[in-house]
């Protein structure tokens, strides 16, 4: 396993992430049903859906944290379940609802991630310092991650995902519980990362963020992928909000109900 060089130019045409017929069943409930998705390299891909739509389950299966009942997940040409070492070395992951090794301090956690990625110690040191500095977490901050605020936890998680300069970032709810200033910072970092040839896939249920950032959008509900494609195509001449509500099947107030309000 080697460290990818400073982000090589993406090969034209290859999908950064390719999901084929993913299925996951919890007990009798079908959490994800036949999800197939192609994420082009160099895209900023937003996965939208209401709570419980299966976004986290899908992303977990995509990066090898959860074994699918059926289907395939291919990251940058490597099957996650056939050749996990190669696939995982090229991807940075920020899971949601999963604990970190939070009895380490921020710097310790970054060093841990870097060494687990088999990076040389001096490179780990230098990049960890940069990340801690840019994300304003403090190189000498010895506070344990367990005592961080929710926003700081997101930021250190993102730093861990970025540390080995992956070519694909898979982020589950990266903007949840993050204050506006930090959110703007994270947006900047991600936009520069994509401009430099990287690919970002992230889930969210905040439409504004997706609309502002993404080049591509996929909409999930009830474990089914309802719609996917370039943002402009999906949106057409309507607002993303209208499309989302229509696709997911929510109701739009017509004005006749709750008239007494």
């Amino acid at each position: 396993m080697s460290i990818p060089a400073q982000r090589p130019p993406s090969e034209g045409g290859t999908a950064a992430m390719s999901l084929r017929g993913l299925v996951k069943r919890f007990d009798s409930r079908l959490a994800v049903s036949e999800v197939s998705l192609e994420v082009p390299a160099g895209s900023f891909y937003g996965l939208l859906g209401p709570n419980g739509a299966g976004k986290t389950t899908t992303l977990s299966m995509a990066v090898g944290l959860l074994r699918p009942d059926a289907g395939q997940a291919v990251l940058l040409g490597y099957d996650v379940w056939q050749s996990p070492a190669e696939a995982k070395s090229l991807v940075g992951v920020l899971p949601d609802g999963v604990r970190m090794f939070d009895r380490l301090s921020g710097p310790e956690l970054l060093a841990y991630h870097g060494l687990l990625r088999a990076m040389p110690a001096d490179v780990v040191d230098q990049r960890a310092r940069d990340l801690l500095d840019v994300l304003e977490l403090g190189v000498d901050n010895r506070t344990l991650v367990v005592d961080y605020s929710a926003g700081m936890k997101k930021k250190i998680g993102l730093a861990c995902a970025l540390l080995h300069a992956p070519r694909l970032l898979v982020l589950d709810e990266p903007f949840e519980a993050v204050d506006p200033v930090s959110a703007a910072l994270i947006r900047d970092i991600l936009q520069r990362y994509v401009a430099g040839g990287g690919t970002v896939v992230f889930s969210s249920h905040v439409l504004e963020v997706v609309e502002r950032l993404c080049s591509h959008v996929a909409i999930m509900s009830d474990g089914v992928l309802r719609m996917h494609g370039p943002l402009a195509e999906i949106r057409g001449d309507r607002s993303l909000q209208d499309v989302f509500v229509q696709v997911v099947g929510g109701r739009v107030a017509t004005g006749s109900e709750l008239a007494w309000l």
């Binding site: 396993m1 990066v63 090898g64 944290l65 959860l66 074994r67 996990p84 070492a85 696939a87 995982k88 070395s89 991807v91 992951v93 899971p95 609802g97 999963v98 604990r99 970190m100 090794f101 939070d102 009895r103 380490l104 301090s105 710097p107 310790e108 970054l110 060093a111 841990y112 991630h113 870097g114 060494l115 687990l116 990625r117 088999a118 040389p120 110690a121 780990v124 040191d125 960890a128 310092r129 801690l132 403090g138 190189v139 000498d140 901050n141 010895r142 506070t143 344990l144 367990v146 005592d147 961080y148 605020s149 700081m152 861990c160």
Partner: protein, 538 residues
Amino acid sequence: MALTPALSIGPFVRLKLRISRNGLRGRPARIVMFVLGAVAAGFLAIFGYAAFATPGLLDSARSAEVLFPFGGALLVFGWFLMPLLFFGVDDSLDPAQFALLPLPRRTLLAGLGVAALIGLPALATLAATAGMVDTSARLGGPGAALAQLLGIICGLLLCVAVSRAVTSAFATALRSRRARDLATVLLAVVAASLGPAQLLLLGLLDQADWRSVQLIAEVVGWTPFGAAWTVGLDVAGGRAWAVPIKVVIVLVAVGGLLWWWSRTLERAMAGAATAGSRRGSAVTRADGRGPVDQLLFRWWPRSRFGALMARETRYWWRETRRRAALITLGVAGVFLPLSTAFGSGGSGGRGLAVLVGAIAPIGLANQFGYEGSAYATNLATGIPGRLEVHSRAAAHALFTLPMLLLVALVTGLLAGGRPESVPATFGMLVATYGVGLALVLPVSVRAAYALPDPSTPFALSSGGGLGKALPSLGAMVGAIVGSLPVVLAGYLLGPAWLWLGLPAGLAYGLAAYLVGAHLAGGLLDRRMPEVLAAVSAR
């Protein structure tokens, strides 16, 4: 706090009584609890009175001089423990509830203190210690009885002050994660040392001669814990000069506790509003060390194995349940051989030492459960199973092997009295530990389960405890059975074993471990996502 607060204590007393009464209204379960509590308190009072009055009936001043300081100190200790054990049960006068009222601190202190005096525990304590007055009267006449009466009142004040101060400090302290961690560990330590302490005490009593006990009793009688309870005996014994000194000792202790209480009380009241405001505030220590040097020790390899082992090592210390497990093991390891040595003259010491070697690996039986879903990090970075298993076992051994050496030393030097057997005993312990690891490691992969959220100190494991513990119990028995060849060789070979024991034990343990780790690693390679799913709490 003389007159002014006295006027405003009344409401506190009425409040306490009202809260107690309302708490019972219409709740049969609570009434039953209350009645049971009352019965227990009554029993304690009668039993205590009888115990403390017996020396007087027997006209034995000598036994009274031992019983009073020890019994009294035990009472104080009980009052100290009570809020720790039952914290959160009686919050009828939680200081935080008075935070918004314009009360001077002195009034609040006096009110809460007096309210604490009105209750079953205080009544029971007073009734029980009245036995001391009885004894003093029989031994030394009315003067002694009067002094002892003063003594037990001072003692009761001390008890209440101790308990209130501890409660208040706890209410403040338990709001921070650090303190909740500490509480969890302390609880484990207390639980772990109850058994050994009892055995040790019995063993000591068996061996101790009356003189040294008397000497200790006299010393305790001059500490704040025992001073209050012995003044009557001092009068009876013709040492009336000691009475004012002892009273001053107790009152100074009470004053100190009240001062501490008043300080923590303020914070306990304010804490209701400021809890959690220090979250994420930076603890910085700029010594110029880079992140890698912060994680790893100087001589540690800068590799994946080094990182895994360093993280695991830190977790054994920083994660409370793991630290509790280590401390329990340490206590058991030292006291099991010691206590039998006192009991049986040392013959069983070595057998129990083997037991320690078999208990040690149990800490790894649910090693993935300790960190829960954080294991996702290792899974997402694609750590091979064998690397994972080896690094974890290495970190555990880093703590355990020195402990086993200590056990061997204790067994050889103190308990058995055969120093030359120390290396062979250590070899035997390592053999047992290795076999135990070999069995426990696959179990930890195969039968991992989620533990409750570690942020609450008194959270109990969620149901099915026995079923989950069975595999690790089986591994413990298996470790003893599996190391039988080494143990038997030890008995059969006799003197030669003193030389052979260490290398043979080490080799046997290492071989067993390698086989087990190999198996567990392969198993983990096939089951990583399943392990993650099993340890993620839902």
